[in-house]
């Protein structure tokens, strides 16, 4: 953990006060109880991202991976030192874990490439097609995708 448990708990407390974390409080608590402090930290960092979106100041340095639950989606990404999402953001359906959207951001936080799901399907079909997509891109980049 790059944040202390105390810092994480303070984030959660403040998020709860600001009505931010109804979807996040339970997974955070569950991860904490399971001793999975890495996931706990990522979910707490997700709340910091929410603070930033709502102009609520939080003094802790937050750079690192985060998880945020919102509207039936699980959002995984990386926050830079300014609490802005950077690099890669992956949105999956919280229940099915099917990938709904992937964004690749540049160093300024601007989206460079974006993958969007076009219709509903199951996890197996999603994974099969995402593997095909990855293989096609690797091949286009001159990287042999075959093991």
């Amino acid at each position: 953990m790059s944040m202390t448990k105390k810092q994480c708990k303070e984030i959660l407390r403040q998020a709860k006060e600001a009505d931010a974390c109804s979807s996040n409080y339970k997974p955070a608590k569950k991860a904490y109880k399971a001793g999975d402090y890495e996931t706990f930290e990522q979910i707490c960092r997700g709340n910091i991202s929410w603070f930033d979106d709502h102009s609520i100041e939080f003094p802790t340095s937050v750079a690192g991976e985060y998880i945020y639950y919102y509207g039936g989606f699980k959002i995984k990404g990386v926050l830079n030192q300014h609490a802005e999402p950077a690099d890669i953001i992956i949105r999956t359906d919280d229940e099915s874990e099917v990938v709904a959207e992937i964004e690749v951001k540049d160093s300024l936080g601007v989206t460079y490439y974006k993958v969007d799901r076009q219709r509903d399907f199951n996890l197996e079909e999603s994974n099969t097609n995402l593997k095909k997509l990855a293989d096609a891109i690797y091949k286009h980049l001159g990287i042999d995708p075959t093991p």
């Binding site: 690749v104 989206t111 460079y112 490439y113 993958v115 799901r117 593997k131 990855a134 096609a136 990287i143």
Partner: protein
């Protein structure tokens, strides 16, 4: 080749008649002269798809990979016998060769996932971001990124 050279040439002639192939005729002729019949066939199939989607009858089935050039883009994909895109379709910038968009279709020709380039940038930037994307996809699928992509 899935089509004969005669069939391919017939498609090109017909496409030219219907003013479809201004951007495709030269690459097709170049591929033919270089005896690159694989590419030649794909370009002809691109024209065949173009003809069939405009209701211009052709006697051949288009099934297979195709290449279609427009003023600014190169479309690379695969069509089934009902002229629908299946599998992966890649749209490249004709001048830079950069990936502008991609689609993955199911066997019914319905798009499943799309990929779009959201801003302009250099070839190096585009390459780096596509590598990031594919590496992230592999990690999401529980696979390791390919070693050559990490270099």
């Amino acid at each position: 080749m899935g089509m004969t050279k005669t069939q391919c040439i017939h498609i090109l002639v017909k496409a030219k008649e219907h003013q479809a192939c201004f951007n495709n005729y030269e690459p097709a002729v170049a591929a033919f002269e270089e005896k690159d019949y694989g590419t030649f066939e794909k370009i002809c199939r691109g024209n065949l798809t173009w003809l069939q989607r405009r209701g211009i009858p052709t006697p051949f089935s288009p099934t297979g990979p195709y290449v279609l050039y427009s003023d600014n883009e190169v479309h690379r994909g695969e069509v089934n016998d009902e002229h629908m895109d299946v599998g992966i379709k890649m749209i490249l910038n004709k001048r830079t060769g950069l990936v502008e968009s991609m689609y993955i279709f199911n066997n019914q020709g319905e798009p499943i996932y799309s990929l779009k380039k959201c801003r302009s940038g250099s070839a190096t930037e585009a390459y780096e971001h596509l590598v990031k994307l594919t590496d992230a996809l592999h990690l999401q699928l529980g696979l390791q990124p390919l070693p050559s992509a990490q270099e």
